[in-house]
């Protein structure tokens, strides 16, 4: 039996499209201060370990971990960086607490996406330097090719993908943190500029800045610290092949395997019945559908119809991305996963304001590390 670990504190620095007035250090500090207050802990006295999640190139300086301890109150404490999505950081914190070595761990991730003036050139450096980078193409074409393959294999339509963008941007209107909330129609999505066929402008999420910190605690500490611990029931992460030439174009195998790992841990046999709502990656509109299928929340090829029927809307039978997702909130780079977890925690605590779902007990958050990667993580949280 694995030990129980809970999220006992959350804090964030507001998500915005640009943040010229605040440095990443201040952003980390702001989110951390709020999270520590929420959890009722003092970083130097109470927190045993810290984990930060950031990639060097997205950060803009090499060896990101250099710049972390002071902003989090973690000077002369065990702290390390995971160059990966925030949910990986939660996994690291979860494991550290599970060993018994630590009782309270803080996990941080932030986005200063507005500093990346030419993200496509930056992402091109993530391509295989021998086989792919020399071709000199814009890496977003990978998403276009993948979407095309997904539509072809499953019979999903571009219209169904467009409805994901419509839904998420609408959901975002009720989220004060969301940057890209708006009321649009499927026709507007379909009619927007063709970027990387068949991906249109409005099928793609836009970047946003923001920082998030979460405090994890062992069962004993969690019960002492808060009346509303949100328990980590399952967590999983997985990397499929990094090669463009060797991957399944139409299927998100990483999400499938990460989900399976988390379900196994949480002892969930029928995800759709046992989970009340999900926050899953929608970096591109089709990704939400692909991930719904990979996570076994519906059968392959059925996600499009589910969206069409309205089942995944906020008031539907299975709400997906109530926060607004990356399409509505903005894409927070490596902090995207934590934004999803943040929403699940707020919903489970009953603190989601106008977008609060009723009677939710178990939620799932999932992330994908973006093109050109084939890696992602999933986490299942519950009130009990």
């Amino acid at each position: 039996m694995l030990p129980r670990v809970a999220i006992v504190g959350i804090g964030f620095s507001s998500f915005r499209s640009i943040t010229p007035d605040i440095s990443f250090k201040e952003m980390m500090f702001e989110a951390a201060t709020r999270a520590y207050e929420d959890a009722g802990v003092c970083p130097q006295q109470d927190i045993d370990g810290f984990v930060t999640c950031e990639e060097d190139f997205a950060h803009g300086r090499s060896i990101f971990s250099i710049h972390t301890p002071d902003n989090l109150g973690a000077v002369l404490k065990p702290i390390h960086t995971i160059p990966g999505d925030g949910i990986y950081g939660l996994a690291a914190g979860y494991m550290q607490i599970s060993t018994g070595l630590m009782s309270i761990v803080a996990v941080e991730s932030h986005s200063k996406a507005s500093n990346m003036l030419t993200p496509n050139y930056l992402i091109a450096h993530a391509l295989d330097p021998v086989y792919n980078k020399p071709l000199g193409y814009n890496p977003y074409f990978i998403a276009g090719m993948e979407m095309n393959r997904y539509l072809f294999e499953t019979g999903t339509t571009k219209e169904q993908c467009a409805l994901v963008a419509v839904k998420n941007k609408l959901n975002a209107l009720l989220n004060p943190q969301a940057v890209y909330g708006e009321r649009i129609t499927a026709d507007e999505v379909l009619g927007s500029e063709m970027m990387f066929y068949p991906l249109s402008r409005l099928d793609m999420s836009s970047p946003a800045d923001g920082g998030i910190v979460m405090v994890l605690a062992s069962e004993e500490k969690a019960k002492a610290l808060t009346d509303k611990p949100i328990w980590i029931r399952g967590i999983g992460w997985c990397s499929d092949t990094p090669g463009l030439e060797t991957r399944e174009g139409g299927e998100a195998v990483y999400a499938h395997l990460a989900g399976d790992m988390a379900y196994k841990m949480a002892d969930i046999k029928h995800p759709r019945k046992e989970i009340d709502f999900v926050e899953i990656d929608d970096t591109f509109s089709y990704k939400e559908l692909q991930h719904l299928e990979a996570l076994k929340l519906c059968r392959r090829g059925e996600a499009g119809a589910l969206v069409e029927e309205g089942a995944t809307q906020r008031d539907g039978e299975f709400p997906v991305n109530v926060s607004g997702g990356s399409l509505g909130v903005g894409h927070l780079v490596e902090a995207t996963g934590l934004q999803r977890v943040l929403e699940v925690v707020l919903q489970l605590r009953g603190e989601a304001g106008k977008r609060q779902l009723s009677n939710v007990k178990v939620g799932l958050a999932q992330s994908w590390r973006g093109i050109p990667t084939n890696s992602g993580a999933a986490i299942i949280l519950s009130r009990e």
Binding site: L2, D56, S62, L76, I79, I82, S98, H125, A126, L257
Partner: protein, 385 residues
């Protein structure tokens, strides 16, 4: 707390410029480590990757690119990163993967390919500094080391000659390491007369830049006992970061290494490290760093490491063999891979499999340590049989 053992290890040669890609280096090391304990990728539950700045080879999300080389295909795969301290940290990270109870086996791979960074990886290091307070100074990494070495010498009245003994010892130790890049029989005068890089740092005080990879296989107790009759137990882990502002640290003493070491010793139940530790593999990217780190690891008092070296205590046949592998100065310094090389060296030494490098007297406990970020992180692991 679940017991975790190292059951296999492998490493590539450390070379100035490898023809293999980072993926290939990773796989060579991973394959050797798996073969050494007769496991295959099917037996591996998860993979941990250590590799230092992406700026070395200009590959964004470098670990994603290296993943299939490291054997992570369709497996839980996580990269840990604390700059130069990464090599030992990933062993700590692999430990928490297995000790948490989530996984029974873990393949830990550390890879570095510095030769892609032309004309010299110093170009990558200067992208580390704070862009407001440090970068404008136009410093290279060597200057930071020069400040620290000077401060260390001044604080304790240690001479360049005493420090040079470390380079002589480590390069000589490396003569017996089949993967070594810069093994040599040199004299103290050779070090003192070598070109001054940034006073008091001279060329032979410095480890080379290298390409290479190292891998180890970790297993939970019940698995380790099944697959290995000589498991080497991870008895303690520790890591710690000091403030990011170099001006707020007294460079004469690495207190962050002390904190990390105390964390690891506490876990291992070690009260008197100088008596209980049989072998030490402190990080030695510069010769004075070995002394600096021996003090941080509480293997001797502050300012005493130079005397121990002069007395021959740290020789392979001495009372406290230090860097019997040859260390970063002799084997080479493929940043992240070097830290894990030190862990692998302890593994071989404690199993009595270090060949010509074998420390006499059947050592029982060893400590390996890496250091990095901006002179601010200590990562420590204590192994025992």
């Amino acid at each position: 707390m679940r017991k975790v053992a190292i059951v296999g290890a492998g490493m590539t040669k450390f070379v100035r410029r490898s023809l293999e890609t980072g993926k290939e280096l990773s796989w060579q090391a991973a394959k050797m480590a798996l073969d050494s304990c007769q496991l295959t990728l099917d037996d591996v539950d998860c993979v941990v990757m250590g590799t230092a700045p992406d700026a070395f080879d200009m590959i964004h999300m470098k670990a994603e690119y290296l993943s299939d080389g490291a054997g992570a295909w369709r497996k839980p795969y996580m990269r840990g990163f604390v700059g130069g301290g990464t090599g030992v940290f990933v062993a700590d990270q692999g430990w928490y993967h297995v000790a948490s109870g989530l996984f029974d086996t873990c393949l830990v791979v550390a890879e570095e390919k510095m030769s892609c960074c032309l004309p010299h990886p110093q170009g990558a290091f200067i992208t580390c500094w704070d862009q407001f307070t440090e970068s404008p100074l136009g410093t290279s990494l060597l200057w930071f080391f020069a400040w620290e070495m000077n401060r260390y010498m001044n604080a304790h009245g240690i001479t360049e000659r005493e420090i040079a003994l470390v380079a002589v010892k480590n390069k000589k130790n490396a003569m017996n390491h089949p993967c070594a890049q810069l093994a040599a029989e040199i004299t103290v005068d050779d070090v003192l007369n070598s070109e001054i890089m940034a006073w008091p740092v001279k060329r032979l005080d410095v480890s080379p830049t290298s390409d290479g990879a190292v891998a180890i296989v970790l297993a939970a107790e019940h698995v380790a006992k099944r697959i290995s009759d000589k498991p080497v137990w991870i008895e303690g882990v520790g890591w710690c970061l000091d403030t990011m502002y170099i001006g707020q640290r007294d460079l004469y003493y690495p207190r962050y290494v002390e904190y990390a070491a105390r964390m690891a010793y506490n876990m291992a139940g070690i009260k008197e490290p100088s008596k209980e530790i049989n072998i030490a593999e402190p990080y030695d990217p510069f010769d004075y760093k070995e002394l600096h780190h021996m003090e941080g690891l509480l293997l001797c008092g502050k300012g005493e490491a130079a005397r121990l070296t002069a007395d021959g205590v740290t020789q392979r046949t001495g009372n406290l063999p230090t860097c019997p592998s040859g260390g970063a100065l002799g084997v080479g310094n493929a940043i992240a891979a070097t830290g894990l090389m030190k862990v692998a060296e302890l593994f071989w030494q404690l199993r009595g499999e270090a060949g010509k490098r074998q420390v006499p007297g059947k050592p029982k406990k060893g400590v390996a340590q890496a250091w990095g970020d901006e002179m601010q992180v200590g990562t420590v692991i204590v192994l025992g049989v």
